[in-house]
């Protein structure tokens, strides 16, 4: 039936709004995955076994099943036990925790790679274990994993498309809605792909700047 992009402009508003949601979810989940990743990593390395073991199980579940399924369980499942999350929040939590688990793996190995001398240097000054961890070890570990964590952020952006299954009107769902009106799948999916690509480029540029800034400080 050929391509006809003339139908797309009429839906600019819908797509732009979808794009805004996608950006919002990506940012929200990205921040959650960053801090969550640090917390999981610290817990996995230093917490007592009755915290560590459930955490391992949790990480294993998150890494072993599709995100689609996790989002579904968080949104439709938690409310059965009385936790009512709006779809947007459920999406952020699902995506955020999923990637927090991945980030945590990165940070753990990076924490273990921090030179023992750093720890000794700080302890010798009189800093406590917690202070040393917070001010010396973790910042260095995190610096070292900014590039691979950046890759996770980029993956997160793309996986945010899955949040459409719990009804958040993000970019993919916006495209689908436009298609359900116009029956022009190719044009709208292409338009959506284009929007994702733009966000992706912006994200990559941001990460590159961040990496350069960190590189400059060492």
């Amino acid at each position: 039936m050929g391509l006809d992009f003339s139908v797309v402009p009429g839906y600019f508003g819908v797509l732009l709004q979808g794009m805004a949601w996608t950006v919002a979810i990506t940012l929200g989940a990205g921040i959650l995955s960053f801090f969550g990743g640090i917390m999981f990593a610290v817990a996995a390395l230093y917490a007592p076994w009755f915290i560590r073991l459930p955490m391992r199980l949790f990480a294993w579940l998150f890494m072993g099943t599709p995100l689609l399924l996790q989002l579904f369980l968080i949104y439709f499942g938690l409310i059965q036990i009385g936790i009512d999350l709006p779809a947007f929040v459920a999406g952020i939590i699902g995506l955020g925790l999923h990637f927090a688990v991945y980030n945590s793996e990165l940070i753990q190995s990076s924490i273990l790679a921090v030179d023992k001398g750093q720890y000794e240097g700080a302890r010798t000054l009189g800093l406590s274990r917690g202070q040393t961890l917070r001010r010396i070890v973790i910042p260095q570990a995190v610096h070292a994993v900014i590039p691979p964590m950046g890759n996770n952020m980029i993956a997160l952006l793309k996986d945010s498309a899955l949040v459409s299954v719990i009804g958040v009107m993000e970019l993919t769902l916006a495209a689908q809605q436009s298609i359900s009106r116009t029956y022009r799948p190719f044009e709208f999916y292409l338009a959506a792909a284009f929007c994702y690509y733009i966000i992706n480029l912006a994200l990559e540029a941001g990460l590159r700047r961040l990496e350069r800034r960190i590189a400059a400080s060492r």
């Binding site: 099943t65 399924l69 439709f76 498309a161 690509y197």
Partner: protein, 215 residues
């Protein structure tokens, strides 16, 4: 929890898991092929090949796999590519993961110490001989683990083809949810099967990795 229902339908989930496995295997093969070619192109001396590979990687990593699948499956016919759902799933996911694997493979190759290439070239070996006999055998070991990560993502990614109606594990669950209104039982069942597949593949990758590291 409707155990009875689970017991009644689980054989069909196991069947569907085989579809997921078949998808995963074919996708892995296609992905590795694309990855190997992509890496070769990215490392070649030919500017055009390099540019093509760079664009391939950038676009396929820069947009969601779901959208790529939709474009291929629903949009393809508009430009004369008419694939059935399973084939579209394999091709879409394979080409997508191939972009990631391109970077994995390239990364492993460039991480081989430059001294290795110099030593081989100094002995008189050609670029290709050096690549085949000296660089690749070493890169191969380094790429097992990161490729394992790609494959793990890919297996979970096969759930996306449910959206283009391949009746694999996730879509089987969705269909049963439609008739039974029991989403948790169905997703539990499919979730367990995914974990089993991923666990086995993970063990396989670790085994390969250990074997490769013995030297």
């Amino acid at each position: 929890m409707d155990i009875d229902l689970i017991l009644r339908v689980y054989p069909f989930f196991v069947e569907a898991a085989w579809v997921t496995i078949e998808l995963s295997v074919l996708t892995t093969i296609l992905g590795l092929t694309c990855g190997a070619l992509g890496a070769a192109a990215r490392l070649s001396r030919n500017v055009v090949l390099r540019a093509i590979a760079a664009v391939y990687v950038s676009i396929f990593r820069g947009t969601p796999a779901l959208i790529q699948l939709f474009i291929l499956y629903f949009g393809g016919p508009q430009i004369g590519i008419n694939l059935d759902a399973f084939d579209a799933g394999v091709i879409g996911l394979g080409v997508n993961i191939g972009a990631y694997m391109t970077e994995t493979i390239r990364g492993a190759i460039v991480s081989v110490d430059k001294g290795q290439t110099e030593a081989a070239r100094t002995l008189g070996m050609s670029r290709w001989e050096t690549m085949r006999k000296v660089v690749l055998p070493q890169a191969m070991r380094m790429m097992i683990r990161p490729l394992g990560v790609n494959i793990n993502a890919l297996i979970k990614g096969t759930a996306l083809v449910a959206a283009i109606s391949v009746v694999e594990l996730t879509y089987t669950a969705q269909r049963y949810i439609g008739s039974t209104y029991k989403p948790f039982e169905m997703f539990l069942l499919s979730g367990i099967l995914y974990m089993v597949i991923i666990y086995i593949v993970g063990q396989g990758i670790s085994w390969l990795d250990r074997k490769a590291r013995i030297v």
